[in-house]
Subunit: 132 residues, 2 copies
């Protein structure tokens, strides 16, 4: 499609539904077209409910899909859906981290690590299976 982004939307007091409806009509897409463009992740029926405010908090993956299709920032939708509060333009992208990665690194003791390495070696030595 022609990349015509003349969608002048100020994140003012628009609800999620209003906003979505606005963007869609601006781009002159039908509900069914959006459904298709989203790869079926949102049904046209569901979109309708969304635009009419019958659903308060669609799950983030739906919003993500719509953000893609509409070419609007994901954060905007997330904010309007009430997942992230307010959002001063400052903290849009980098919210809180730290905690998440903590577990990632590991809490293996040395013994455990050795045992696991050994076991892994064992696993690999007998690798002859072809399943899956």
């Amino acid at each position: 499609m022609t990349g015509k982004e003349s969608v002048t939307n100020k994140p003012t007091g628009q609800t999620l539904g209003e906003y979505l409806a606005n963007v869609r009509t601006s781009k002159q897409l039908s509900l069914r077209e959006v459904e298709e463009a989203a790869g079926g992740i949102v049904s046209n029926a569901y979109l309708s409910q969304l635009e009419h405010g019958r659903i308060n908090k669609p799950s983030p993956n739906i919003l993500h899909s719509l953000a893609q299709v509409y070419g609007v920032p994901y954060e905007t939708l997330m904010e309007k859906a009430g997942y992230i509060a307010a959002a001063t333009p400052d903290q849009t992208a980098s919210r809180r981290h730290g905690r998440v990665a903590t577990f990632a690194k590991d809490n293996l003791t040395k013994e455990e690590e050795e045992a696991l390495l050994e076991y892994l070696a064992f696993l690999r030595s007998k690798k002859g299976k072809r399943s899956l």
Copy 2:
């Protein structure tokens, strides 16, 4: 209800629930700890249902959150939840770099990862109890 269902130690056939339970216990996290670490995106109650296979298709954002907290590849969870058709081991191995952070030394295949997690859980279960 106390389904002792086949605890086949065949790592390949782990369900989403089994896998999640496995990872969590390996890391010695309680349900409520995970809830907290995920920023409240998954409730402890929900996690419990998840681990017991009472939920078929948790939404991708939940899975993503858990993947972050547990440090396991998102794709693995997505696949186990049935969103993407099972990838061949080869594809999975080379697909991305989020490999098991618990054991980042080696490049583990998905099967190996599962086997090791299971084994680790086994190791720790013998070793004694949690001292909090």
